[in-house]
């Protein structure tokens, strides 16, 4: 999938280094999110301990309060599980160079992995998933890198309302990804543009309309 498979330098980094940087950046964000879940679980468990200590000293235990704490801990475990599952899906996206893929799921995955980056940029990601599954055959990681490259460019250039609206829909035998809410200075990096070309994905930028359309071909890709 690489736009620079020979490993020669572009923009100061080889293609392999850029992929490692991507993995490192996402992994750092994911582990940070998991740490936040653990911190909340730690404090809720601490609160439960405090309540028990107070009960030992004669204060009545409130079952509803304990129930809320347990529910909150469970919710954080669920949140952490989802974060780890996403990281696991990303890790396995490099397993097979040519497999049957659900493109909508991959776009959803990238949006979830990018949630923290979007939050830091104070940009809202609003994804409308496809009505029917959009399947393709190809390299899952290539799709992830294409979507992440487009999101990186989008997060760097949002319109004033700071909301990127993404949608994916079937278009003939292929699919169309649309990103709306882009400022006129929006420009995918040369690496993302090269990857799109290698995947036979046509990128159409409507600067005045603040819109990018990526026309994804049907059948086997990359």
């Amino acid at each position: 999938m690489s736009d620079n498979p020979s490993g020669t330098q572009t923009g100061g980094r080889t293609a392999a280094e850029r992929e490692l940087v991507f993995f490192g950046r996402v992994l750092a964000s994911v582990t940070h999110d998991v740490k936040n879940c653990l911190a909340i679980i730690n404090e809720k468990a601490g609160l439960a301990e405090d309540l028990m200590l107070m009960a030992d000293k004669g204060r009545a235990l409130d079952p509803a309060r304990l129930g809320n704490l347990a529910a909150s801990i469970k919710a954080q475990v669920k949140r952490a599980d989802r974060i780890v599952k996403n990281a696991n899906t990303l890790a396995h996206s490099v397993d097979a160079p040519n497999s049957r893929l659900d493109v909508g799921n991959l776009l959803g995955l990238v949006c979830e992995l990018y949630r923290r980056f979007a939050d830091r940029a104070e940009v809202r990601l609003d994804l409308t998933p496809p009505e029917v599954p959009i399947m393709a055959t190809g390299f899952a990681f290539a799709y992830i890198r294409l979507f992440s490259g487009l999101l990186d460019a989008g997060l760097a250039a949002p319109q004033m309302d700071k909301t990127l609206r993404l949608s994916l829909a079937q278009q003939g035998s292929g699919a169309e990804l649309a990103i709306l809410g882009l400022a006129p200075e929006f420009a995918p990096s040369p690496e993302t543009a090269a990857l799109a070309a290698a995947m036979n994905v046509r990128l159409v930028i409507d600067a005045a309309g603040g819109r990018l359309t990526a026309e994804l071909p049907g059948g086997a890709v990359v």
């Binding site: 740490k35 936040n36 653990l38 911190a39 730690n42 404090e43 601490g46 939050d119």
Partner: protein, 142 residues
């Protein structure tokens, strides 16, 4: 007198739970869900220690720290970090943060650091007051 603490984190559940546990231990806790809110509060109230999350949407902890220190050089800041590496914490210390604690935090350890922050702040405030008195004495030739 109880320690006055400003707790800053963008995770509301963490903020609520940690604040409640600190209050149970007698601390006077104010919370802020963003760096901007924290900066506003620091402009209005005095705190013995500010517990600041390093990674927050918009203005992150280090930026907030620089802005906070620009107007309140005696503010004692303890960073809370979700980073597994200590690099960011060291960066914060180099900028003048009092200390840093990794998440999930040990509350007893954090309380110790808050007490140290209060003591440090009292020394700085006292030093400032002495300097002021010295200036007045010199100015008036007494």
């Amino acid at each position: 007198m109880s320690e006055r603490v400003l707790l800053v984190d963008d995770e509301p559940e963490f903020l609520e739970a940690m604040a409640e546990r600190m209050r149970t231990r007698g601390l006077n806790v104010t919370t802020a869900a963003s760096a901007r809110e924290a900066l506003e509060l620091v402009g209005k109230e005095t705190f013995d220690a500010v517990i600041l999350d390093l990674m927050m949407p918009g203005m992150d902890g280090l930026e907030a720290f620089k802005a906070l220190r620009a107007g309140h050089e005696d503010a004692q800041v303890i960073f809370l970090t979700g980073h597994a590496s200590v690099e960011k914490g060291i960066e914060a210390m180099k900028l003048g943060a009092m200390d840093f604690v990794e998440k999930p935090a040990d509350l007893n350890q954090l309380l110790e650091k808050i007490r140290s922050a209060k003591a440090q702040k009292m020394i700085l405030v006292e030093k400032k007051a002495q300097e002021k008195i010295k200036d007045i004495l010199t100015e008036r030739g007494w």
